[in-house]
């Protein structure tokens, strides 16, 4: 018993030490990048292990915030209290303060520049409401909201500048973190791994919309998603345009002009194919070849005549 109690004390002491070290480390990181007004919150929330077990659902609720990611995010310049406006200045936080709904759309529509934004939050909301993620009666989607995909403490409007493969990987990981059986459902897709490394899930699983917003928030059901290879590989496809231009932008930002030109990986196999043009051109080329051969043969005959005459 005595031995057990001392081991327990030792473990607690070790835990405390680790916690203090983590806090010190997190604070150092926080001081470096994040504006001062986050520090009061990040003193605790920057700890990577800050979490609790929810009594009702029995799930671990993660409360930690990556301070570096926060400083790079679109919300990095906001004070915590601008969104979390309950009584969070006291510890422990008041229970009722924790459950205030945070609506992206409401906040963003109130902004003065709401109409000029590239992404219209009203449109996003309309699209989202038609999305599979908004299916109201699916039990596994209970509590699904913007934050299920877009972590407001890390969200960046564009990740252009990072290596393309990393952007695609991060993007797809987001989907795959819930859709665990996606791999089996994509067995029909030729070169599945290559596709997953080069194309975002949302490129096929969202409709091509007429508004100027790059990607729709209306995530489609599997059966309504793009299964047609030709939609990307060849033809006048806006889906292809979208992917192509995104890739070029990424390349330019990341590699600069010269490398973009030389190591440009934006070309999609088959995108320049036009069966009509190919057939027409190959036909004309074949015909020209025949004419040239016939012409050469005629010249050879003429040459034979001239040598015969000389003799």
């Amino acid at each position: 018993m005595i031995l057990h109690a001392s081991t327990l004390r030792l473990n607690r002491a070790r835990q405390l030490l680790i916690m203090l070290m983590m806090m010190a480390f997190s604070l150092a990181a926080a001081n470096e990048k994040v504006p001062v007004n986050h520090n009061a919150c990040l003193r605790c929330h920057a700890m990577p292990t800050l979490a609790y077990r929810d009594a009702n659902s029995n799930k671990i609720i993660n409360l930690s915030i990556d301070s570096l990611a926060l400083s790079h995010s679109v919300h990095g310049k906001l004070a915590c209290a601008e969104c979390h406006d309950g009584q969070f200045d006291r510890y422990p936080h008041q229970f009722d303060a924790q459950n205030r709904p945070l609506s992206c759309v409401n906040c963003h529509e109130e902004k003065a520049d709401a109409a000029e934004r590239h992404y219209q939050f009203k449109t996003i909301e309309e699209e989202y409401n038609q999305s599979v993620h908004a299916t109201p009666d699916a039990p596994e989607l209970k509590g699904f909201n913007c934050h299920s995909c877009h972590d407001p403490h890390q969200f960046r409007a564009s990740r252009i500048g990072e290596p393309l493969a990393k952007i695609i990987h991060t993007n797809n990981q987001l989907c795959l973190s819930c859709h665990e059986s996606a791999r089996a459902h994509h067995a029909w897709l030729p070169n599945q791994e290559k596709h997953w490394q080069a194309v975002r899930c949302i490129d096929c699983h969202t409709p091509v919309t007429e508004n100027d917003q790059t990607v729709s928030h209306q995530i489609l059901k599997a059966e309504a998603s793009n299964h047609d290879c030709v939609n990307c590989h060849s033809k006048n496809s806006r889906l292809l345009n979208r992917l192509y231009q995104y890739r070029t932008a990424t390349n330019l930002e990341h590699q600069g002009w010269f490398n973009t030109a030389v190591f440009n990986d934006a070309y999609v196999v088959g995108m320049s194919r036009s069966p009509l043009l190919d057939r027409l051109a190959l036909g004309v080329i074949g015909l020209t070849l025949l004419v040239l051969i016939a012409h050469g043969f005629g010249r050879y005959k003429a040459y034979q005549r001239i040598t015969r005459n000389r003799k």
């Binding site: 033809k235 030389v262 190591f263 070309y267 995108m271 194919r273 040239l292 003429a302 001239i306």
Partner: protein
């Protein structure tokens, strides 16, 4: 024998460098366009090759234009409008009919004019219409982010792709005809040798005169 120095060194170097690039461009371009077909380069190999050769080809074209502006070689590309149609018909008639009757060449290159009218017209079209279109559409591929999303109601990348492809096919036709036409000199290799040594040598003139 009649020998005239028609092709200065820079023109010959440019010509053979350009020819090499054309071969590389056509081969790697076909590998991209018909990716997966047998006998072609691997897609990932063809891609940087096509891009690098494309940039070199664009530089080579600029060098050609500058070369023709600053040296006397440019005079061969200045069209003499007087009798243009008549010379075009004469030259066309020779290739279509006269050549089979062993008629003499209607055109003899000189230091003043090394290209016959048909040759001159096709070179002008290739170098000053097709090549700029090829380079512009190729460049537009590489930097498609600066393009509008649509051109004339069609996806702009597709418009660019079709333009690049059409011009490329036209140039394949040009190369085929060019390779054949160079054999129609006094002997099969007269014109080829001229582009190697710079000297155009004609024997027949001496004999007939």
């Amino acid at each position: 024998m009649n020998a005239i120095y028609l092709y200065p060194l820079w023109v010959r170097i440019w010509h053979w460098f350009n020819a090499l690039l054309f071969v590389i461009m056509l081969w790697s371009g076909a590998s991209l366009h018909f990716a997966g077909s047998i006998g072609l380069l691997d897609f990932s190999t063809a891609r940087p090759i096509h891009n690098i050769a494309g940039i070199l080809l664009a530089l080579s074209w600029i060098a050609f234009v500058i070369g023709n502006l600053v040296t006397s070689n440019g005079r061969h590309y200045r069209v003499q409008w007087h009798g243009f149609i008549r010379r075009l018909i004469t030259q066309g008639h020779y290739y279509a009919v006269g050549i089979f009757n062993n008629e003499p060449h209607p055109f003899h290159p000189s230091t003043e004019m090394k290209l016959n009218t048909l040759q001159q017209t096709s070179y002008l079209a290739v170098m000053y219409i097709l090549m700029p279109l090829l380079i512009l559409s190729g460049g537009a591929f590489l930097f498609s982010i600066y393009l509008p999303e649509t051109l004339w109601g069609l996806g702009s990348v597709w418009v660019v792709a079709m333009a690049h492809l059409t011009v490329a096919y036209c140039l394949v036709l040009f190369i085929m005809v060019h390779l054949y036409i160079i054999t129609t000199g006094e002997t099969v290799t007269t014109n080829l040798r001229a582009m190697v040594s710079g000297w155009h040598r004609e024997m027949a003139q001496e004999k007939t005169e």
